[in-house]
């Protein structure tokens, strides 16, 4: 857990050392949930943005964004 958080937040993130194992577990869970929410929101927003684009441009911009 500590190693995972250090990888995400930076090995020099001293705050990881200041939290108990239980608190680290909650930080880990909050970060995992935030990453999932952000990925899902970004995918949904990108799809909706493509839908809003004029049809002739849609395929080209879909390639750029990676959809």
């Amino acid at each position: 857990m500590r190693e995972v958080l250090e990888r995400w937040l930076g090995a020099d993130a001293r705050v990881v050392d200041a939290l108990s194992d239980e608190e680290l577990g909650e930080l880990h869970a909050a970060l995992v949930a935030a990453r999932k929410r952000q990925a899902a929101a970004l995918a949904a927003a990108s799809a909706e943005a493509l839908r809003q684009m004029p049809a002739p441009l849609r395929a080209r911009f879909g390639e750029i964004v990676g959809f």
Binding site: W8, L9, G10, A13, R14, V15, A18, L19, S20, E22, E23, E26, L27, A30, L31, A33, A34, R35, R37, Q38, A39, A41, L42, A45, S46, E48, A49, R51, Q52, M53, P54, L57, F61, I64, V65, G66
Partner: protein, 305 residues
């Protein structure tokens, strides 16, 4: 800022960075507010870096589309959190073009997720009237934590324009949540003297939370001359108001801030303050003695009469 206020504000900002509620980040409540801030900055960077390439590609597309179409797509497709992160990847003048055409309410929502480190170049390109309108919207929502957070990104012009249209109470609450003492000092210094006198009077004559906010604001100023000037304004109050300020400092754990304010006064004013009858109260003297022991004054004037 008092430790509790600072910790509460940082927990709110950490929760927003994680797109969750303050209850969900209570695990960080045991940390010092500076450590919570460092944690939040790492969290923001981690979440930002994870999709930075996508944010960059979306920002690139906005360069190829006309502004009205960009605005329409942004409003229909992107929640404010994502829009704020994508804005960080756009050229500031291009992002400002979009911002200048978006509804104030959407921009205010986006401010909750802006990081001053990335937002400063963008904010400096936005039309000042729109910045003021967004701040007014945030004040109407009671979002003092957010405005204080973004104070680091504000220019002196913005500070002056905003100060001209919002209340003394709002300014005090914003100052309470400012992150940087240096930027807070710059912002306060940008206000005209008569406004500063009015703000101090509103704090001293206001309810306890405003008195606390005023003490915190004056104590945090990084400019000795400015701190002394505001402290003198506060000391112009009558004995009744100064006694209320004294009791608020004791009740809210803001005696160190009160002592900083007292130390900034000129000797003549210090002598007048020391004649306050409340300072002969044994309970008050005990509280002050404890605080003076824990936080010795830099000046050689004793606080006790």
């Amino acid at each position: 800022m008092g430790r509790d206020l600072a910790t509460q504000a940082e927990l709110v900002k950490l929760a927003r960075a994680l797109d969750t509620t303050p209850d969900e980040v209570s695990f960080a409540g045991s940390l010092d507010h500076r450590d919570i801030r460092r944690l939040r900055e790492r969290v923001v960077d981690a979440l930002y870096e994870e999709h930075r390439a996508t944010f960059g590609r979306i920002a690139m597309i906005t360069r190829l589309l006309p502004t009205p179409l960009n605005v329409r797509i942004t409003l229909r497709a992107f929640p404010p959190l994502l829009a704020a992160r994508i804005a960080g990847e756009m050229a500031p003048d291009r992002a400002a073009e979009l911002v200048n055409r978006m509804p104030i309410e959407y921009l205010a929502d986006g401010c909750l997720h802006l990081e001053p480190r990335r937002a400063a170049p963008l904010i400096s390109h936005i039309h000042p009237d729109r910045v003021v309108a967004v701040v007014q919207e945030l004040v109407a929502r009671g979002e003092y934590v957010t405005i204080g957070h973004l104070l680091d990104a504000a220019t002196e012009r913005i500070v002056r324009d905003v100060a001209a249209v919002i209340s003394d109470e709002a300014l005090l609450r914003i100052g309470c949540y400012a992150e940087s003492d240096t930027q807070l000092t710059t912002a306060v210094a940008a206000l005209p003297p008569e406004r500063l006198r009015g703000i101090v009077a509103s704090a001293v004559g206001g309810p306890p939370e405003l008195r606390s906010a005023g003490l915190a604001l004056i104590a945090r100023l990084a400019d000795d001359e400015l701190r002394a000037r505001l402290a003198e304004y506060a000391a112009e109050s009558d004995d009744e108001a100064l006694t209320r300020l004294l009791h608020t400092a004791i009740d809210d754990g803001a005696v160190p801030e009160l002592l900083t304010l007292f130390a900034a006064l000129g000797e003549h004013t210090q002598r007048r303050v020391l004649t306050l009858p409340a300072l002969t109260d044994p309970d008050v003297r005990t509280q002050l003695t404890k605080a003076v022991t824990a936080h010795p004054l830099e000046s050689n004037v004793t606080f006790m009469p």
